[in-house]
Point group: C2
Chain length 446, copies 2
């Protein structure tokens, strides 16, 4: 059995390691276009923020370990450019420019996602960067240090943009954020987005909403981001205005694409070709709340799906129940988390949603150090089913959200959840946990 | 409708407030033996630890508010001594010694629990105290300050004992803990108990296991706790060797008692008398994992059950699904939490349990400030059903445990839980959440 994997990050290396553990005799080839495999992509903003930490610390396991210890045929600098499904061959070109070709019995596409970069003038200037690969992370960190960056502009305001504005601030870089859309964090309810907006602007970050970027121009040693009615000077520009699935080779090979042009896969992570699997940021998934396809690229899913693909290929057919879209990020002193659907997503998915916003506390009545926790919760008014939550606060948010994720996996109603026996001690929350307060208030609207 | 409530703490005042909200015309009488109602009992150790904070800050709502704003006939200093079920009357004596009597249509016994104090010589000395009522908390705090307490002995090693040893340490009081049993925290698995033992002893607390206390004697201005082979001098002794339900008046009135002599109630919190409800620390409950009766006195349940009783009495019959026994406490830098059954409880409940211990991390690979998280998880090997968890660590424990509580409410299997979509960001945990690592390892044993 020749198992070929395109992409050596979370999904790809999880699959390779697991397959090798299950079937030590299997011939496993991983083709990775960059020089790096198995690194913590999500850790890059925190690492960039800290001049004392080497970027190499983000590498979870080195390529040599996979090659020497795990006996995986891991080939870095190998960019796959084509899949020949009838010949069951993948081919491409190495970093030094040599062509290569590999036959497969089973193929796993784990090509991930890549930053969306507008095709506008100046986005190819050397001061304009993106953050996805470890090499790109190193480039940003080195550039800050070598060019003594004082001013940065971030194009986009997603969670990578927010994490990076904190990283820049920690490096003493004055940062502006700009995007064409008029709404800050549109996926969050207004009450919650306002808290983050306030936090970020208080930290000295300038936020410019509703400005369509026209071009970037070189200016002195830096650049100038030019919008119709706004010009922002910077030593460095980070383009963080979204990512897209790397599904081109799959498309060219005639595989079905799904939502957001992600590779369409079934619950077994199988593509429209029975010998080809896809998972991680390049593939779609079923949403556990809607039962419909979605594209929510997140690290846990990539790792989990990599395992599942390996299991299936090794003779243990493994399907995944789907994703809840549970995520958390930190921006300055705030923890921001979500799981499931927001109001609009619920509406678009055919539910009859009702939502409620509450402000509660992170610690018990009379306990010092308490901070506000803000929660927006969504349920279906017809069935009472819990559909999702968004929450934020300075503490007690990141792990609390998981209770809702579990509840969503179990199709709990707000009434059921309101009866859950959650932990209480004064340093960690009120007697009525913030989630219970939220769900009880929401239940009144149903 | 005359609704009489015995006891004005969590369960009693929750019921009174809710009933008044639902039925403003209802004649509600609360008979409370102490001077205090509606205070945060669980907050007392933290308040005692802090000389700057007034104990009154623990009062959530003052008696006057209930009386004047909510129009509840709240009578403090009223100790009920008898229930006449045929006459539907409760009677007792006030603090100044006046007899009283009230007729009821519906009665709610919310008498709580009281500390177990051994009937041994010297336990009535003024330096020997317990911590349950706000008055007792004030007494301890005042005594520490007025008598410049330097040495304390705590009899017992439950979670109140542990919280109080931290409070004493923060007040500069050298503290010893002693108990007859040979095992430190027997409800925890050894690996976890060892971590707490280490933490406490490192903070300078002396732990004496396996010493049967014979008596306490006055000694200079303090006392001497005397065991057969150990003598401990102290300025103050705290007896924290467990609590028992205050069910005597219920028993005398002929109501059924259940496990641990708690008042037996059905899922509607109704006792063996159709006009009498009981809830909070004085009553038993159904366990959501075993489906059997249990006595796990905790604050959230008391509040929730108070609401449910009020709902039922106001014409909205309300049953409760039961408790998971989810709890958390802080001891020095550690968060210690549990939910569901431990191995022995699972065995005793007729399951065929399997358990597994893992040590994971509180933050992602390469992220600074990471701390160990220790988890012991229990499942039924026949069905794969998740039965319980115990966990501890310096961060990321208190709220994580709630995910397991929710899973227990939903009868999830370890396999189901292993597929839950939990949140990930480097500052808050590894890609594979500690609970996922624990459950995946446990699944391998099934």
């Amino acid at each position: 059995m020749r198992f070929v994997i395109i992409g050596g990050d979370a999904a790809g290396m999880s699959a390779a390691s697991r397959a090798k553990r299950l079937r030590p005799d299997m011939e496993i080839t991983v083709l990775e276009q960059t020089r790096d495999v198995s690194y913590s992509a999500c850790g890059m903003p925190y690492n960039i923020a800290d001049p004392e930490r080497d970027m190499e610390r983000l590498v979870v396991r080195k390529a040599e370990v996979f090659i020497e210890k795990n006996k995986i045929n891991l080939l870095t600098g190998h960019r796959v450019t084509a899949i020949d499904r009838s010949a069951k061959t993948v081919s491409g070109i190495t970093a030094p420019g040599e062509p290569f070709s590999y036959d497969y019995d089973k193929l796993f596409i784990a090509t991930g996602a890549s930053p969306v970069v507008p095709g506008l003038p100046g986005f190819d200037l050397p001061q304009v960067m993106v953050l996805k690969s470890l090499g790109q992370g190193k480039q940003i960190k080195t550039y800050i240090e070598q060019h003594k960056v004082k001013k940065a502009v971030i194009i986009g305001m997603g969670y990578i943009a927010l994490e990076m504005c904190e990283a820049f601030e920690k490096r003493g870089v004055k940062t502006s954020m700009v995007k064409p859309g008029p709404v800050f964090l549109p996926w969050l309810t207004q009450d919650l987005a306002d808290v983050i907006y306030e936090e970020i602007t208080q930290m000295g970050i300038d936020i410019h909403l509703g400005h369509v970027i026209q071009k970037i121009e070189a200016f002195n040693t830096g650049v100038r981001v030019i919008c119709e009615d706004l010009t922002l000077d910077a030593d460095l520009v980070l383009v963080a205005s979204g990512i897209k699935p790397c599904s081109e080779i799959a498309k060219t090979a005639g595989l079905d694409l799904g939502i957001s042009d992600a590779i369409a896969v079934d619950r077994f992570l199988k593509t429209s070709d029975t010998d080809i699997y896809a998972a991680g940021d390049c593939a779609d998934a079923y949403h556990i709340v809607t039962g419909q396809k979605c594209w929510i690229p997140l690290a846990l899913r990539a790792n989990r799906a990599g395992w599942a693909v390996a299991d299936s290929i090794c003779g243990i057919p493994t399907s995944l129940p789907g994703v809840a879209g549970t995520s958390v990020f930190k921006v300055f002193s705030l923890e921001v988390a979500r799981s499931g659907l927001n109001f609009k997503e619920a509406l678009d998915s055919g539910f009859t949603p009702v939502e409620n916003f509450v402000q509660t506390r992170s610690r018990a009545h009379g306990h010092p150090g308490s901070n506000p926790i803000y929660i927006n919760m969504v349920a279906d008014s017809k069935t009472g089913r819990l559909l999702g939550v968004q929450m934020l606060g300075k503490e007690g948010v990141a792990h609390r959200v998981n209770s809702i994720a579990v509840a969503l996996h179990c199709n709990m109603t707000v009434k059921d959840f309101s009866q859950t026996d959650l932990a209480y001690a004064p340093p960690f929350g009120p007697v009525w946990d913030p989630l219970l307060t939220a769900v009880i208030q929401l239940a009144k609207k149903i």
